[in-house]
Symmetry: C2
Subunit: 757 residues, 2 copies
Amino acid sequence: MNIQQLIKENQLGLLFQQGSFGLEKESQRVYADGSVVTTEHPKAFGNRSYHPYIQTDFAESQLELITPPNTKLEDTYRWLSAIHEVVQRTLPENEYIFPLSMPAGLPTEDKIKVAQLDNPEDVAYREYLVRAYGKNKQMVSGIHYNFQLSPELVQRLFSLQNEYKSAVDFQNDLYLKMAKNFLRYQWILLYLLSATPTVESVYFKDGSPLKAGQFVRSLRSSQYGYVNDPEIKVSFDSVEKYVETLEHWVANGKLIAEKEFYSNVRLRGAKKARELLQNGIKYLEFRLFDLNPFEIYGISLNDAKFIHAFALLMIWIEQTATQEDLELGKARLAEVAFEHPLDKTEYAVEGELVLLELLSMLEQIGAEAELVEIVKDKLSQFADPSKTIGGRLVQAIEQAGSYQQLGAQLAQQYKAKAFERFYALSAFDNMELSTQALLFDLIKKGIHTEILDENDQFLCLKHGDHIEYVKNGNMTSHDSYISPLIMENKVVTKKVLHKAGFNVPQSVEFTSLEKAVASYALFENRAVVIKPKSTNYGLGITIFQQGVQNRDDFAKAVEIAFREDKEVMVEDYLVGTEYRFFVLGDETLAVLLRVPANVIGDGVHTVAELVTMKNNHPLRGDGSRTPLKKIALGEIEQLQLKEQGLTVDSVPAKDQLVQLRANSNISTGGDSIDMTDEMHESYKQLAVGITKAMGAAVCGVDLIIPDLKKPAEPNLASWGVIEANFNPMMMMHIFPYAGKSRRLTQNVIKMLFPELI
Amino acid sequence: MNIQQLIKENQLGLLFQQGSFGLEKESQRVYADGSVVTTEHPKAFGNRSYHPYIQTDFAESQLELITPPNTKLEDTYRWLSAIHEVVQRTLPENEYIFPLSMPAGLPTEDKIKVAQLDNPEDVAYREYLVRAYGKNKQMVSGIHYNFQLSPELVQRLFSLQNEYKSAVDFQNDLYLKMAKNFLRYQWILLYLLSATPTVESVYFKDGSPLKAGQFVRSLRSSQYGYVNDPEIKVSFDSVEKYVETLEHWVANGKLIAEKEFYSNVRLRGAKKARELLQNGIKYLEFRLFDLNPFEIYGISLNDAKFIHAFALLMIWIEQTATQEDLELGKARLAEVAFEHPLDKTEYAVEGELVLLELLSMLEQIGAEAELVEIVKDKLSQFADPSKTIGGRLVQAIEQAGSYQQLGAQLAQQYKAKAFERFYALSAFDNMELSTQALLFDLIKKGIHTEILDENDQFLCLKHGDHIEYVKNGNMTSHDSYISPLIMENKVVTKKVLHKAGFNVPQSVEFTSLEKAVASYALFENRAVVIKPKSTNYGLGITIFQQGVQNRDDFAKAVEIAFREDKEVMVEDYLVGTEYRFFVLGDETLAVLLRVPANVIGDGVHTVAELVTMKNNHPLRGDGSRTPLKKIALGEIEQLQLKEQGLTVDSVPAKDQLVQLRANSNISTGGDSIDMTDEMHESYKQLAVGITKAMGAAVCGVDLIIPDLKKPAEPNLASWGVIEANFNPMMMMHIFPYAGKSRRLTQNVIKMLFPELI
């Protein structure tokens, strides 16, 4: 069976490049000086018994970040980025993620705590490892790369050949070929990507094998790394032999469990090797890779693409490595691992030949030009070892003074970077900020999340068998279909709230001056606003804040309104300040005051300068990629200034409030001020009641309140509800301009998954 | 206290005319000959223990139709119309509503059954009445008119006077004034509106008091009507005296209960008179009115407006009738009742004076010109008794031969009228037909319904404390917020259904010919349709029904598609017929086949003639006010004919199917054919499963099925789902062009109110 030929003849090049990708990245939590922490795995990262994204590896200090599988490597990389940002922003202030595979500043062995997992077997296994290998060796970190070929490709290839009768056998041999050839040629990836040139001497029980100042390509992949006894040999000739030999070593006690077999390729698709016989190999896990300290997430997207291409080459080439070839490959790996990173490798010729074959494959399968460039760049590194990651690393270590210092510097730099736009998830910045905030909390809490439609902000959440869908951050199954429909219709909303006994401003519409005046009695002594039905620029509006006292005044106001429209409304006028109540279930979670765009004078700067200074606030930007919007200085703002006798060049007095807008929208530069703790409890309960009357689970209720400290009374003078909004905005509460942040997205998760307290 | 003056001085004219109105209309169910039925109250009218709209009065044969109160008389009248249409269309085929107050063709007393109500006390009370008055007198029907002044008016008037300290006392005296003056002047209404000139002789136990051929104005309001013993006198001087005197007659056994006091005005607002002392009178019930046989609903809207104005006059006039005036009023009523309907009344001068005062009032309160005209017309009837209802009636009876014959004719005519647009509720025809159908079923079932917003098809339903909202006929609280959002997004819908294991056609999009052809392997042997992403007039589409067999054919098809668009889709092609499954909860309630607009030749008529003939179908019309749409003969239809070698003037052969459209939409003249019973059960279950996967309670699922008789298999060749629709159309199932009607609105009600089985 010649795979290459089948692909070429049937033009399966594109399908050949499809697949599924997942990354698992270990790394130590460290202090600012790069030394490994002795603290517990942060509770904020939720429960390790099910967390799909944030786990611990061997030690309590050793994070393991796991992406979900994706059919596009780019998406896998986005997840890696997002999980990193969640971790970086959630870590205690004095903790960092160490960017190098080799640990630095190792605590004494008694202070290294194995991961405190719920399952006692998992803990017992780690304790066995301590006895067998010592704790220090277990503290080394790396990246595991999971790769599955497109099932459609495998099926198609199977149908095109006639050597195999069983589809499972065919698939197994395909993956075994990839595994064996990978083990044969893995040294090439090590040469190009390895980044463990040194380690502190306490790492070694019996003293360092490295001479002073000696650097190697990969301590982690050398005999001093985390490897099995050389005696342990497992056959990759067939799945049967693999199972047989692996079970042999477990049976005779040389391995305590199958998972103690640390091959750089693992056959995946079953919990126990024996199950592979039935299920077949589903995908491979490549475990060779050191963390790349020059990359914020430990691996570059380009290198991930290169590894994919390299893995494909392993089934593209004609030959299949024999068991002897495998031993050769392992030996060559050990040799190259101990070469100096700035030396040319002994096997450069083989490396170059293999990459030339890779280039030839890429051409034949119609790969993107970008990928070809990546491979060409790697090819050139055989001639110039200083361009390899290892080569660059030893130069950087020498510059920094030590690998611990280099690691500490980079760790701080990467953490700072993760805080640059602390309100966003960089990799998912095409989605709304509220969905990014929700995604952040979902990743942190460990709820399996699939993005169904990025443009539509549509997520599918899963915990065990429990599935929930979320759109736009808080539209869920918990609201009934009818509630947003009620809220969408202002007439119906008013009727429903009025019936339920809430204070709703009433309005009456008139089509003639005569009829309106004839109805004067309805409004006498009542605070009302008289306005044309379609208001334009506030023309024709009269407000009787103290109640209409006089028929003539009323008639005059109606007459003014009729100049602007054929229909005039007389509406109850509510005196007070508008507050937004964010209600979820039985609780008002946040109360917000929105203040129209403004600056406060300092007696020195002009209005324009004050605006620029205020706009420098980290939360302000275009308002879609930032929680708050920069204040503009357009026509409307200048008109507003003019009304106050000011221009953009005026210098307002110290503490003078300068209004730049009449409306309080955040989207026109308004300030958001959290008032949750200041608001009297009675209004919060009213907002909950209003939400219930709407049949809603999540609701933004706008109340007008003259005095937020006084308890609510049952009349419009005390408070009134002017709007109930479904899918209410969350960002203004999560990142207010002033006052306490209210992390509402966490409450959305609690509502959807009450079982996860 | 001078009410008139207060209203004038404070210009309360408009407020004075506001109020709340309710009608209760009794009538006998009769056979085609006008004789009273002996059948039970139809079960289809639901449960009389709570029915708000359809009740029985004294006898099992005596319907009582009750409108909800409305602030506009027009709306009350619409409800009266709607309730009538529901009753007319639900009655057994051989039963009718008798349009006259006096019963005809009375069964012998042993065959008259008192209403079989659940409450034994109600039945016992009726049996007492039989003993006291005999059954026949109880069989007389009338209209009760409930009227409440605007509470705002009463409050305003109270605040403007200083005679009363208590608002309740003030309100009571206001209504008592209206009641007393009404009792004083009620004869005027009797003169104008009465319509019980005669009755068959069996009605009287002791022989008819009428001479042969004698007609009177109102037997019903005469001593031969359904009135108390003249000895029973109840004081209207004050609420206290009213309670005292009424309780006196009950205590001494002359009345078995307070409700046996048959005053033409009842004080309402309490179950027991004594409670009025605390609650106050809330509204009045006027019980004087005979059924107007010339009106389909027993009363004209104009007469209802006239009665309103008359009731207002009763508080407008300065004097308040004394107890002696009341006795005078009652005596005068009895006298006028026994006058001949074509004779001038004895008291014409008083009647004219009162109506002149009414006209003066209308002018002073700024009433509509239309109302003034109505009153002027009534005024003229004092000079010409033949224009009164009674006058017209005796002429009509003489023409018909007997009042029974006249009643039978009109009853049949009114029933036929109610069937003219049997799919609509005439009075609510501004709403969608599906909401009309739902409203029909709600009225029939007896669920209290309020129309919150007619334009928005928004209803509020109530049974006991259980409230539900419905929009557009089937959007309810039973669907979750997220399901329509899922269904709105076709990408998400596909993902969700695909994950849940349903057969969903998959599609892949390409931006280059090269890439598409490189992916050929994905589509080999698969039935696919290749099309430009934005399809225009079907250009560039190639279908491989039998699967793509050949790379070149595939490449050619892709190339053709790329001529039309920059993006090309390759989509699974589903062979078969599209059916719409209407699912509610756990059940597929209806399956519909939509057939493109067509006619079938008869070898005689032209296409144009065949279309006209088909368009005469009663369900066809403009498609918004009718369930089906008339077939047009526009450009598209003519193009379609041309493709078949036909024009509108061609005469198709007998049984030749002539297609007039390619698309199967009902809105372009398509036929709807119910296939519920024909469809294999397995597909119905699939549709239920798809609905559940969407998290929906109500869903319209479109499946493509090649053979509806074969059980479903788990592959796209057997069936595929192409769409899931929220708020699916109901009318096409309720009124299909062919096949069985599926009354889905009843299922919506069952879903919302499962307690009502």
